[in-house]
């Protein structure tokens, strides 16, 4: 092979770099996320939509909310249970889920996502 030595060396280095995250995390299995509900959230029994929907699509819901609230001025949402909610991450969502580090962050950290919502939206102070 023309320049064979350089090519193989390059391939080996490239492969090592590509697989380095696996070497780094070898042997450490991250714990499955366990989001904790606050007492208020448990009492409410249901979120603005059912749990399965919220688990898979809460980001879509929030995206739609911010679009309709800010740009269309429509601030109220009628959930599937018939209840009317004020569309606000801080005022509505975090009112029940006021334990961000034990709720939101649990799954977000496990999945390695850092939503930039928190750059602007305020989080209620938690008692550790």
């Amino acid at each position: 092979m023309y320049d064979g030595g350089k090519i193989i060396a390059g391939l080996v280095i490239g492969l090592c770099l590509l697989l380095s995250p696996f070497f780094y995390n070898a042997g450490k299995a991250a714990k499955a996320p366990e989001p904790e509900l606050t007492a208020k959230a448990k009492e409410a029994k249901q979120c603005v939509a059912d749990t399965a929907y919220m688990k898979s699509r809460h980001m879509h819901l929030l995206d739609e909310w911010r679009q309709t609230v800010v740009r269309d001025g429509e601030r109220y949402y009628k959930g599937s249970n018939g209840k009317v909610y004020y569309k606000s991450l801080q005022v509505t969502c975090l009112d029940c889920h006021s334990n961000k580090s034990k709720f939101c962050d649990q799954c977000h950290n496990y999945m390695g996502v850092t939503p930039y919502c928190w750059d602007c939206h305020l989080v209620p102070k938690e008692n550790k």
């Binding site: 739609e64 309709t68 800010v70 009628k78 009317v84 606000s88 801080q90 750059d119 602007c120 305020l122």
Partner: protein, 263 residues
């Protein structure tokens, strides 16, 4: 050979379009979320008339304090990077087009309350490349901090200097200057790199409440800040404008500002 290259490309693009379009149609027709209609404060052209004859410096400071604390506006203590939604200005700087060596003492020596004029013909909205600022149907020039890319074209376009930019992280403002920042947990802060300004308290209007500055001022003296709908001929603002002579900032520019000053 059945399909030649041209036919293949036609089939492929049609399928892609159907595939993407199909997904969109599916989502549209999916069992979904309704919008509830809750009555908002109706208006077609929100405006403000400020009675400067009875206004005092203390009341104007109260207005700024109220607005800036409800909206978590940081205080950097540095005019280079300052953020202000409502503030005081001397006559010659508030109305520089009224060049006059011999202005009446009363008019000359008082400060004026300045804020975004929510113009009916806003140049800032014309120049915004993403629609992060736009004019609503009710006349309010609104801000969408999710969409702003921080190009600052609106700041160049505004003839009134109403807009402020977050040159740094607002949450890193010195604690000594605003010890209880952020004062309002129900309103977000902004992040670095976006432009902000007064939004005529649209979140309060939606609940049927008056803007914070109006509430703060009128608590001290009645009808100091008159906030109402210019499109309604019987509204408080129209009545005030019929009764008193008012001036606006830089009217010759054609922006049609909606903040009037009774001098």
């Amino acid at each position: 050979m059945g399909v030649d290259r041209r036919q293949f490309l036609k089939i492929a693009s049609l399928s892609t379009l159907l595939g993407i379009g199909g997904k969109a149609v599916f989502e549209l027709l999916a069992p979904g979320e309704l919008e509830a209609a809750v009555p908002l404060m109706e208006g077609k052209r929100w405006a403000m008339v400020i009675d400067m004859r009875r206004m005092t410096d203390e009341i104007m400071d109260e207005c700024q304090k109220a607005c800036h604390s409800v909206h978590n506006v940081p205080n950097f203590g540095d005019p280079k990077v300052e953020i202000k939604w409502i503030w005081k200005e001397e006559f010659e700087h508030a109305f520089p087009d009224q060049e006059n060596e011999y202005v009446a003492d009363e008019v000359k020596h008082r400060s004026y309350l300045l804020l975004c004029n929510h113009c009916s013909n806003p140049p800032c909205c014309r120049v915004c490349p993403t629609g992060a600022t736009w004019q609503r149907e009710d006349g309010i020039v609104m801000m969408d901090w999710h969409r702003c890319i921080g190009c600052r074209f609106c700041m160049a376009g505004c003839p009134y200097g109403s807009r402020s930019f977050n040159w740094g992280d607002p949450r890193k403002a010195p604690k000594e200057l605003s010890p209880d920042f952020p004062a309002n947990p129900e309103f977000p802060t902004r992040t670095k790199g976006v432009v902000e300004k007064c939004t005529f308290c649209d979140e309060r209007l939606a609940k049927g409440e008056l803007p914070v500055c109006v509430e703060a001022a009128n608590k001290k003296k009645e009808d100091l800040l008159i906030f109402g709908d210019l499109a309604d001929p019987d509204s408080n603002v129209r009545q005030a404008l019929r009764k008193h002579f008012t001036i606006r900032r830089k009217p010759e520019l054609g922006t049609n500002p909606n903040v009037y000053y009774i001098v």
